[in-house]
Amino acid sequence: MNANGWIQIALFCAVVLALVKPLGWYMTRVFEGERTPLSPVLAPVEGGLYRVAGIDARHEQTWLGYGLAMLAFHLLGFVLLYAVLRLQDVLPLNPMGQAAVAPDLAFNTAASFVTNTNWQNYGGESTLSYLSQMLGLTHQNFLSAATGIALAVALIRGFSRASARTVGSFWVDLTRCTLYVLLPICFVYALFLVSQGMPQTFSPYVDATTLEGAQQTIAVGPVASQVAIKMLGTNGGGFFNANAAHPFENPTALSNFVQIVSIFALGAALTNVFGRMVGDERQGWAILAAMGTLFLAGVAVTYASEAAGSSVLNGLGLTGGNMEGKEVRFGIVASALFAVVTTAASCGAVNAMHDSFTALGGLIPLLNMQLGEIIVGGVGAGLYGMLVFVVVAIFVAGLMVGRTPEYLGKKIEAREVKMAMLAILCLPLMMLGGTALATVLPAGLAGPANAGPHGFSEILYAFTSAAANNGSAFGGLTGNTLFYNGLLAVGMLVGRFFVIVPALAIAGSLAAKKTLPASAGTFPTDSGLFVGLLVGVILIVGGLTFFPSLALGPVVEHLAGSAGQTFGTGG
């Protein structure tokens, strides 16, 4: 660790914090249906879309109607993406002649992008045509991100409204988010990325003759347009196999910095949207403070562990930290920071190979996802995940003092707590259940590339990443098999929709309640005490649920590695 490393981390935090208020202001206007600086250009497009689609922009939906609309939209999107992948060999824009994607891989990839997971069992440059990358993946990157934000806004409306039957219109939220927030930012962002050296072309791969006379085929493509939304929408599915470690997908230290900031930008700003819409920005800052506490602790552990390096390699006389799987232009600190950010948010892009991280350095990304990616989180998904934990924390606080718990003037009652617990419990069920299954079945045990506890970590990471809709991987796992394609896809779908539907149910039941005025007995939810309680509940729930699995993987590996033990056979 050195001073420059901490300065890079501090600069990152400062830039994200500086963006919270302006982006929060802008997004609040977008979702309140007010005029924005972009309205003169975009309002006619928006109006036209509604007319063709037969949408009345003033007609709002109940939580159930909102949820059904969302599910119908996803079902159609899933079918479209599956069809594009299966038919890419006969569709245009396939200069490299990529074959049709196999059924199980297409199913996995479609589930992966529709749920904003973007798990990469596909190989990017070696599997997909340009059309699949654009029409298939880029468009789902937009729509799954817009859906996440729309759902968070619906849940916020549940808190901000009183005695209301509806939580907004899914169609309007989806359209406005795509048109006013995602598209304009991505257009400018993509051009910036090209200025840093990211390709944006429809030409076939380039054949080069190297200085030593060897042939090198260099994969290119329409990379920048996809990477912009991949980061901003916390999707994370790469154009290339190596994702943001690939020099074309992350050419410079500056492109890297902006990419990390863009992972957090919208998610962090949504806490401010929350504060503004419930009429008290301090409530949003309190949530962000709880997120920030967990985040900084994670960054410190991963940075320290990667900078110290692997005991086994240090034993051979190496110094300078763990550079296996990392790029020189980023070095230790920018790789460690990226890893913590991408798993805190549900992004899943990687600029270094997490599989080669030190045991403790890799434990933090795993833990971030197990806690449900509530530290800023996926766009939208992080906020509604965090608000689900808020419901539980408020409930625990209420139990301690023997009062009916309240949050923002809303009584938290049995129905909300039941729904919150349903959302919280479905994640460990998929993560740990899937891991358990894979460790007893031959098809599951065939997956890991590393022996010993690290092999277990590879399996655990895969199911954790899938259910948390993250999409990053301990990439050594051979995941492109019928067993993993299928089971991981189920994990992704359950992890997405079994959180979304209970969160929407909470929104509906809260919106219908009266707002009670604060009294002397009300627990102030913008205080340090509340932030501490929230962090405590998250760590206790996460710790009790996941510590045994972490003990079997990264913790054992750390202890064994410190003693100089290695696993598997050399070479």
Binding site: A69, H139, Q216, N241, F257, V312, M353, N450
Partner: protein, 205 residues
């Protein structure tokens, strides 16, 4: 319930088609158009030509093996085995199939590979500490850079093979060192392909 679902079907279909066309076609095409006009060389992949032939991309590493060139980092990329398409064989710096080694910190295979590389480099420059990036594979397998220490480490070998003085080669390396962006971001580095091109130019003079 049936009319409710049917009511959702039209907006779902229309929005899916319209937003797909907008985000999946119009947006990437617009970015391609503008990028191709404003940053044509970068949009095409930062390709380097010498005597009318593409010799590589300034952003993509190449597998240098000769003693007279600076070497990049070890690369873990693979290619399909020509003898059996279901298997893969090592193919360093395969720019059509990026990947890392994915070997974990307690992997015996990793420890053995690093030890082999270390022994070879220590034999080449006895007594010099070996920079860590010269014996570890990058995340992409296509890392175009090495650390300045790793470039300077190779100066004696390159100077011997090229019959140049170490001072000359040292100067060449020093001129190719790029600092942190804005003095803050990332790490100092040397682009290996650019360095080797400069080395070839020096030899021609």
């Amino acid at each position: 319930m049936r009319p409710a679902m049917l009511n959702q079907l039209r907006p779902a279909l229309v929005l899916l088609v319209a937003l797909t066309a907008l985000t999946g076609l119009a947006y990437p095409l617009a970015v391609t158009g503008v990028a191709g006009t404003v940053f044509p060389a970068k949009a095409a992949g930062s390709l380097i030509e010498r005597d009318g032939r593409v010799v590589g991309s300034s952003l993509i590493g190449q597998g240098f093996t000769g003693a007279g060139y600076f070497h990049g980092r070890p690369s873990a990329t693979t290619a399909a085995d020509p003898a059996d398409a279901s298997k893969t064989v090592p193919a360093p710096y395969n720019a059509a199939n990026s990947m890392g080694s994915n070997l974990g910190p307690t992997s015996a295979a990793l420890a053995e590979r690093v030890k082999g590389d270390l022994d070879a480099l220590r034999a080449e420059s006895p007594g010099q500490p070996v920079p860590v990036d010269l014996v570890t594979t990058s995340g992409s397998g296509l890392d175009p850079d090495v650390s300045p220490e790793a470039a300077f480490f190779q100066v004696p070998r390159v100077a011997r093979a090229r019959k140049l003085s170490e001072e000359q080669v040292n100067e060449l390396v020093a001129a190719q060192v790029q600092g942190r962006t804005l003095g803050l971001l990332g790490e100092p580095r040397v682009n290996v392909l650019a360095l080797n091109l400069a080395l070839d130019d020096l030899a021609k003079r």
